[in-house]
Each structure stands twice: as C-alpha cells, then as structure tokens.
C-alpha cells in the first residue's frame, strides 16, 4: 500500500511551466489513470515522480517520505518511448535487470514474454514498436515492484495484448500494489482505473472516482416552446458547469443534482427535458475544451 502525495508541484522548462501548481493524492492498491491532451504535462509529472526531473518547486512524498534511492527499487517505470538497446537481445535485457534489481524475477519476465509471443533470443533491433512496448511491460511487471508507473503502456499493441496489459494492471492492484498509467485510449482508462486525474497545460483540471464522475456529471437538456423564456441565474448554480443555448434548446453540463436541475428546467416551462449520461470520453473532452462563445451566455430573465 503506497500512497503518493504530490503537493504544489511545479516544473519550469525555460519559459514553459510543464507542470504548474499540481496537487494530487494517489491512493495505494489501485489503478490510477492520468489523462490529458498532448503536452499537458503527464510525462513530466512521471519524471518528477521518478526523480528523473527535479521539480522547480513542490513536494512528492511516498507514504509520507521523500524519494530516496531505496524507493526506486520499489518503483517500475515504462516510458512512452523505448529505452531498450537495439544491439542487445531481449534475454540480455532480462539478465541486465536481474543484476540491477534484487526483486526482479527472470522466470516471470520469460512467462510474460510467452504471453506476448516474443522470443527472448531476438535482438531489439528487429522488434516492432508494439513488441518493444511488450518487452518493457514484461520487464516492468517482473520487477515485483510496489508501484508501477506506465506511460502509454499499450501504445502499438494489438487489442489482444492491450487486454493482457490491462489484466496485468488489475492483478497488481488486487495484490495491493499501485499502478499509475497514462493513456490516450480513454476506453482503457475507463475500464481499468478506479480514479483519474485530468491535466491540461500543466494544471489539474479534474479528478475523482471514474464511477462517481459518471454518476454525478450529466447533460440536462430542455426545449422551450418559444425563444423567449425565463431561466434566471441558471449559470450561477454551483452545479451548472456550462451552459449552451441554441435558440429554444438549452443544454447544461451539471456536476451534481441533475434531477433538481432538470426539475428547474421543467418548472421554467421547458418540454422534453432529458438527462443524458456521459462516458469518460465526454467528461474528459468537457474538462479540457476551452470555454466556447456559447458557454458564457447568461440567460437573462425575459418578459415576453
């Protein structure tokens, strides 16, 4: 059980804040998904977690303790791009990891390579992108680490092997270990992650349990009989995150209390009021899409 606490993390590269005032607690014994558009700061956050990048400011604690060399023995990392040596065979990489990490299990690595159908005698040079990913996954999961940090762990893998990787992650969580992963394949995060955080431009823009986010965040939509209607102050409701209006149709993104807000639309005379569930992709897109012109429309009380 390893809780990771990130407090006010900031990493500045030249004029760019890759990570900006990022505060997050990642619980142990679970799968945690880090989402964000390209360049959001996910990889930089991972590098700070691993001590590969020195934070400009802020703190990272593992079970309340700062990162020390001994902690790294407990963390396995799969970077987004291959860090394998082209001129070495897969088996030689396994041997190298056996020497480097006391808890590394070569037998487990070979077993996982069999699952991924990779012959350990092959040289890395001849492997495809997906096969290199699979080799790094096999090595990481043979480390017997307490914490696995996986940056796009399924990139280049076929659907069967993608599912293998998700199963491995679930298995680690079931054993009490922590898995933190990033992926642009939101369907995978939606399936395997218990909690997520969404980053955008280095900042945390959304976090929570996937199931709670889905349970709370809804679109409430109503159609008014006339373009003139009274719906005063709806955009000030703390649970209304966004208001879109197209003539007679009002569409609200609500973060809680969808039923009460739907009732408010009905009371204001809207017909066809409906509440639409959102999947994680919808929730993600709303979290990272900048406010559009329609977002700022304030529906003023109208006297017809």
């Amino acid at each position: 059980m390893s809780t990771i606490t990130i407090t006010n993390l900031r990493k500045i590269y030249g004029p760019i804040a890759a990570v900006d005032d990022f505060t997050l607690e990642i619980p142990g014994a679970s799968v945690f998904g880090l989402l964000g558009p390209n360049g959001a700061g996910k990889t930089t956050t991972f590098k700070c977690l691993l001590g590969l990048a020195r934070p400009t400011s802020g703190a990272i604690l593992y079970d309340g303790q700062p990162l020390v060399p001994g902690t790294l023995e407990r963390i396995a990392y799969v970077p987004e791009r291959s860090v394998l040596y082209d001129w070495m065979t897969v088996a030689e990489h396994i041997e190298m990891n056996r020497r480097a990490y006391t808890r590394f299990s070569p037998a487990r690595a070979l077993e996982l390579l069999t699952t991924f159908r990779i012959d350990p005698r092959r040289r890395v040079r001849v492997l495809s992108k997906g096969m290199k990913t699979a080799v790094m996954i096999a090595i990481a999961f043979a480390r017997n680490a307490d914490i696995l940090i996986l940056d796009e762990p399924t990139s280049g893998l076929d659907p069967v092997n993608q599912r293998h990787v998700l199963s491995l992650m679930i298995n680690e969580a079931a054993k009490g270990n922590s898995v933190i992963f990033s992926s642009h394949q939101i369907g995978q995060v939606e399936r395997a992650a218990e909690q997520i955080a969404v980053m955008d431009s280095g900042r945390l823009v959304l976090q929570g349990l996937v199931d709670d986010l889905k349970g709370d965040r809804k679109i409430v939509e109503g159609v008014f009989p006339d373009v003139q209607f009274a719906l005063d102050g709806i955009s000030n409701d703390p649970h209304v995150a966004r208001v879109d209006r197209t003539e007679r149709i009002v569409r609200l993104l609500v973060t809680a209390d969808a039923d009460a807000i739907a009732a408010r639309l009905s009371a204001a005379g809207a017909m066809g009021v409906r509440t639409v569930d959102l999947n994680l992709e919808d929730i993600f897109l709303y979290a990272v899409s900048p406010a559009t012109a329609t977002t700022d429309i304030v529906i003023k009380e109208t006297s017809s």
Partner: protein, 130 residues
C-alpha cells in the same frame, strides 16, 4: 457464477452500478440461487478487467441492501432470503424501467390520460387481453 455478468465500461452508467444491477437480475431470474457463492472481489475484477475496488464497492452496496452477505475468510454469498426476495427484486427492476418511460412521457408533454392509454395498449400486447 454465471458467465452472463458483463460490464460496458463505455456506458455512462457507473461500472459498480452495472455490477449491482446484473447480480440482482441474476437473482431475480434464479440464475443465482439462495446461498450460492459469488466470485471473490479479486476474481471478478480479473474476469471483468475492472478495478478491484470497483467490484468491492458493488459488493458493499449489495450487502447494505441485504442482497448478499460476506463471511470473513469464506467469501460472499447470496442471502438466504435472496430467493424469496426475488419477486421484490424483479418488481424493482421493472419499476425502474417504468419510471424511466413515464419520465420521458411527461417530459415530451403527454397527459395522464395519454399515458394510461399507451400503458393499456402495451399491457395488452405483452400480457394479452383481459
């Protein structure tokens, strides 16, 4: 445990609610019998490829509703009253579906009389004329 338990992670319905709904349905249909053992949290998590804490949340909720019981070290079981309760569970499932339909009907502006006529027609279609 029936292999029919599946989740659709792409749905907007939280995964733990999908698990709860399907276990209740299995009990209502008699696919899961009184006293029958459920898979462990870990096993079901691996089978469905979903987070173990998500399965644990579904089980906790089912315990709270007295649908299942968990004996420490032995696992989770359908409660002995689960079978006698099955008509209740069936009514609950149908009630939820009806609720949704009525809400839709109301929101598109139908009146009580319209809805009653629609309901009578549907009743005749599925259950025959009285």
């Amino acid at each position: 445990m029936p292999a029919v338990l599946t989740v659709d992670p792409r749905s907007g319905v939280p995964i733990y609610l999908q698990i709860i709904e399907q276990i209740k349905r299995s009990i209502a249909l008699g696919v899961l019998q009184s006293g029958e053992q459920l898979p462990t949290v870990k096993q079901l998590a691996i089978d469905l490829t979903v987070n173990p804490n998500t399965v644990a949340r579904a089980y906790r909720e089912l315990e709270r509703e007295d649908v299942i019981e968990t004996a420490p070290g032995r696992g989770s079981f359908v409660r002995s009253n689960g079978v006698t309760e099955s008509p209740k569970v069936a009514a609950e499932i149908a009630g939820d579906a009806l609720d949704l339909a009525l809400r839709e009907a109301k929101s598109v502006g139908l009146e009580r009389g319209d809805v009653r006529r629609l309901f009578e027609d549907a009743l005749a279609r599925w259950f025959g004329q009285q």
